[in-house]
Amino acid sequence: MDKRTDGKVRGVSRRDFIKGMGAGALGSAVIPQLLGQEAIQTKRGRVPVYEKKQVALTVNGKPASLMVAPNETLLDVLRDRLGVTGPKKVCDHGQCGGCTVLLDGTPVYACMSLAIRADGRSVTTVEGLAKDGRLHPVQDAFIENDGYQCGFCTPGFLVTAAAFLDGNRNPATGEIERALSGNLCRCGNYPKIHRAVAAAARKMKGA
């Protein structure tokens, strides 16, 4: 499954944004130089400059509103400021999928998504997969098939798998593996993860 590291919905990509900030480093040092300007020019047009911006998002169905810096990632905001610690910081570089969350239903790497881009949008983390105390079928399947060992990559796998199964109840051979190939499991439990996702697909199809 393709993962968008950031939404294309509004404004500029993270790369353009950083370029626009004048440095690769997300240092606060560059911000004061831009303060006082209302906007900067990027190749996609002029974008506004903020020191902080108020954002309102929905996390697992609950509204949250807070001031975020333009270079704060969605992952840091979820974990450090909203106390939503299901998504894990494993690589912090979009290389492992441990932080995967759903942004309006689409899996994204939260470590590569800026929090300001989540303004007005809906975020689902592993904490939001169970409904009314009932586990999502893929969560049940992970328990029954021993789909995890240390469990640290598991939230990312579960979110990816849940989104995949939402769009495909009848995965063909190889489709599950491809769908999950953006998530790393260092304990090396992949065959059991496949079994769990396949079991969940069968259950969801029957349901």
């Binding site: 240092g27 606060s28 840091d76 974990r79 450090d80 106390g83 610690t85 299901g86 998504p87 894990k88 910081k89 494993v90 690589c91 912090d92 570089h93 290389q95 492992c96 441990g98 983390t125 592993v126 904490e127 997969l129 169970a130 586990l135 969560q139 992970f142 328990i143 029954e144 021993d146 995890y148 060992q149 240390c150 469990g151 640290f152 990559c153 598991t154 939230p155 579960l158 599950i176 593996e177 491809r178 999950l180 190939s181 998530n183 790393l184 499991c185 260092r186 304990c187 090396g188 439990n189 992949y190 065959p191 059991k192 993860i193 496949h194």
Partner: protein, 758 residues
Amino acid sequence: MAGKKRADIGEGSLLYNDLARGGGDLYPPVRDQSQPPPESPGYTYIGKPTSRIDGREVVTGEALYTHDIKLRDMLIGKILRSPHACAEVVSIDLAPALAVPGVLAGLKLAEGKVRYAGEQVAAVAAVDARTADKALTRIKVDYKVVPFVVEWQKARQDGSPRVRDEKSNVEKFNEYARGDVDKGFAAADVVLERTFSTGVEIHHPTETHGSIAKWEEGRLIVHDSSQNVHGVRDGLARALKIPAADVTVITRYMGGGFGSKLGANDYTVAAARLAREARRPVKIVLSRKDNAMCVGFRPSTYQSYKAGVRKDGTLTALSVVNFSCGGVGYGDEIAEPVIDLYECPNCKVEEFSVFDNTCASRACRAPGHTQSMLGLEGMMDALAAAVGMDPLELRRKNYSTRNRGGTGIPYSTKGLDKCYDAGAKAVGWERRNAVPGAGIGRVRRGIGVSSSIWWGGGVPGTLADIVLYPDGSVEAVCGTQDIGTGTRTHMAVVAAETLGLEPKDITVRLGDTEYPWAPASGGSQTTPSVAPAVRDAALKALDRLKQIAAEKLQVRPEDVMMESRTFRSGPEPSKSIPFAEVYRALRREAVFHGERPGYPTDKFAFNTFGAHFAEVEVDLDTGKVRVLKYAAAHDSGQIINTRTAESQVIGAVTQGLSTAVFEERIMDSTTGNPVNPNLEDYKIATALDVPEIGVTFIPMTDPRLNNLGAKGLGEPPRIPSSAAVANAVFNAIGVHVGSIPMTPARVLAAIARREARS
């Protein structure tokens, strides 16, 4: 021959190899063992699949790992690390960092020389990560850069910069000899020499290393992502010069370690010192890059073998010289499998540690053995090809029932022969190329085998408690930790089995130094240490319950049977009393202490065994290796929970495959830094690279070892998994690549070597 890899920092701690062998001299061996034999295998849960009891917490994200813990008023600590591979630290000026608003403490950590890029120099604690990061940029460090070396081949040469000041970069750290290898070579029909090498593999647990330190009424409380809470406690006490009794270490959930989290770490000490200075809790979490540079790796090896064999397959002599590089720490010993695995009267091993300016190595899931198997089992396949023998037949021909290659004491149990049979059948061994490389076409297939030998008998002196409550609830308590292997669940399985309950009925407490002592979760020692201790405690608890039941029923305690949550008189089945009533009669909670005793290591060798079979295809044009099928068979004694045990094997195969084909740290000799300190350029196998893996457990128990007959399993399946893939590639293309990872370039070079020969 003691291993040099510490399971802990400071004096008086267990060396890794001592841990693996059952605790070294920590506990005297039992001379005249008089342990009860395992119960008849009429188990309800033991040896059967049980789902993890912490499943719901993990899949809902409720399980709190060290990364996830946030204490009130907690500060974030960050560490400034040396960019230089070797430098004198002339001065450190913290003042500008401390002047940053929100910075509450700072420490100078480097004294004198830093010897690898990434070594600690200074640390700060601030109100949040951004402020701490900003403060790090303000610290002024004056370095005097000195020459360094980050490649072991260069470090070996005369005139290379000395990593340890006056000491040489090459140090002999292990040797062994029996018989006379020269006589053995003279008696051989075929003598072969081969060299095998393995690259640096990094543990890269998904949860990077991290700790939270908090002082409370003079006591230190630490949350640590650790494989060894008691060892961390002792190490912190020594480093901070405070009584161990005043330190508590907690690891409730942890995201993998693979040997890199066995001791107290320097950043944990820094967190404790920062917390003391700031009078607030401090959390330090390492970055992924730090994990690649600062917390160890599996040492590289360069193994030169010479082996002699008769035409009938009898080994006459086996010798190896190993150069292993462990950075500023020691390399890995590869000796044990070479010495032990095959019957061979003449054997000689010489091992040298090479030092370079990379961080100190750490134990990495079966240290030394994974590398050893690549060489030893590669050699066996070369010998088999040279005498025209089936590689499995050659292994059976030299099968040994005593350690030290048939010259030592007998193995208490050894199911390796059964592993060969089961694995060969599962993979379809008869489909291999009878002559390596005999296939045709651009894409060649091959099947390879490798054996496994490890210790894993358990550490005597391990303690566990069972607590019975009058309301009928039951606790199993042990100061071990669940590093992902399913320790929580197997404690519940053993307690439930013994007490006639279900695993979900047991409340398991672990991961805390306030609980009874257990060893590090390393050396494949957790299950054979903890499970017997829990069993012992539960048996004592059961005795007490039966005693109460006997009094209530007015029968003899030995006549009391347990069945469907009821105690019943055997001779008079009509006399029965439900569990609930008996528990109620306890009137207060009752604690029962269990201990895992010693075992007769003077009379028997206690080892775990396994055999792995891989089928691969190799593209001769691209050099790409793909693993198609895999079968693993193990003798780890009585398996406690087959569901989690199967996962252990599957994970170890994945890791071995990954190391065989992808993983290697690459150092830049110009900057002295790694070029791939992340999870993209350091390649790790993904879902697309791993085939279905068939797992067989040989039904065996070892009654001499413990009250369950259980041996360890964490490392045994990691030992043969790179070697089996390498031997399969040999079978496919007719030449052993000789080096792992078998990158396309190395595979193509091997093919070119073969073509040049023919």
